[in-house]
Symmetry: C2
Subunit: 222 residues, 2 copies
DNA sequence: AATTGTGAACCTCTTCACAGCT
DNA sequence: AGCTGTGAAGAGGTTCACAATT
């Protein structure tokens, strides 16, 4: 399901748990929030409380990358924010491409959070002749047939796949050929890619089925 | 982050791993696919290949709930599909409410997959006077202020939160008061809820930041 | 006195390996 | 002979608990 991640190494050449990266993202958001309130110092305990984890977990997560705090005092909010920014690679702009300008695709184009976090759409692709040539957020939809050329020309770092399940694997194969190393997949299917390509799946149906399971169990079988 | 799930019990009163439920969802989709091609039998090896896991993992996942296969032969596709349907609670219709009829909310309303999988929107809520009273997919947007009353009246099982981060916790608190036990949260923030309420987060920014990390590591530091 | 950083213990999930059916 | 079901081993992630530091 998840490929590439978890193979990554830190200062001691250890593998970093996938879950650790997810939590760093959350701490990062908390730190930006605290920063906006001009709060200068934060403890692992406080970060833990705000993210539903233990303080030991917070400290362990940081420890893979360095020692960012001061014993007895806690962490400097701005400095820690900058450190995590660097770890996650958020101190630079990333170029996105969107494949599939349908319902979900269009919603993502208008998703403010991407812009706010330094992720910019640079290329839109679709196979529907009705859509090719139309403009969204200032970008003209290009023909999916020219994927390889367009991706290379656009210096795309990350590609968002928002096509139907049946079309997704073909798109992924073409992206791999075009040298893409990071894919965010909204299609409800598992993608096969080489180990050096990272795929993250955003599968809404799986999440809602988890809720269905939880409700079923809760009500059930004494 | 994830609450409620993982506390659930199976035929031997063991806890079921969250990851197991996610995989059951995937196997379920594979089985429906095989069924549509009139394939009658499938092995754990085949299911494994199609979902990027090991065959032992597949068999172990099933083993928590029963023995659905036949040694030497494999699994009957339709029967296994029905079993998983029952486990996940997909053999019944679930009523959804949407809170926040913005970009993401509207995209979700038009997301065919929900309808196809027996999840039906029954209630839309928003606090924006511009939106209250408007209709989408045949439903009138109701005032968020009347959340409690509307949720109870609509017999809502699962609520999708698609409001800004700042508003999400208040919505969650109100949902808990209204007796809601399952929440799918698209707001980029951690929600605090009692342990009997299950929350699943669909946090797009975290996923894209994972990709940023992967790219940063891959290119970095010799 | 407070709080970090971390090795060790603990717990959870995955894989192995093989007995048991068909 | 082929494939499942599962206890036991192994790997991986989390929490404990305390020495180190301010």
């Amino acid at each position: 399901m998840i490929t590439g991640l978890g193979e990554m190494a830190n200062r001691y050449n250890q593998k970093i748990a996938d879950a650790t990266i997810g939590r760093l993202s959350r701490y990062y958001r908390t730190l930006k929030h605290l920063e906006s309130y001009d709060i200068e110092t934060v403890s692992s305990e406080e970060l833990a409380k705000r993210n539903n984890v233990t303080s030991a977990q917070v400290r362990k997560d940081f420890s893979f990358f360095g020692a960012f705090g001061r014993r007895g005092l806690g962490y400097n909010v701005s400095e820690l924010r900058r450190q995590i920014e660097k770890i996650l690679g958020l101190d630079q702009e990333w170029h996105l491409a969107l494949v599939g300008v349908g319902n979900i695709g269009k919603a993502l184009l208008n998703f403010r959070q991407f812009e706010e976090h330094n992720f910019k759409f640079r290329l839109l692709l679709d196979s529907d002749p009705e859509k090719i040539g139309k403009r969204f957020i200032g970008l003209e939809v290009r023909n999916l047939e020219n994927l390889n050329e367009e991706v290379r020309k656009g210096h795309v770092d990350i590609v968002v796949i928002a096509v139907p399940a049946e079309a997704a694997q073909k798109v992924a194969d073409d992206l791999v050929k075009a040298g893409v190393k990071a894919i965010l997949n909204f299609a409800p299917t598992s993608l096969m890619v080489p180990p050096d390509v990272t795929v993250r799946n955003q599968n809404i149906v799986i999440e809602i089925e988890r809720l269905s399971f939880a409700l079923t169990q809760a009500s059930g079988k004494p």
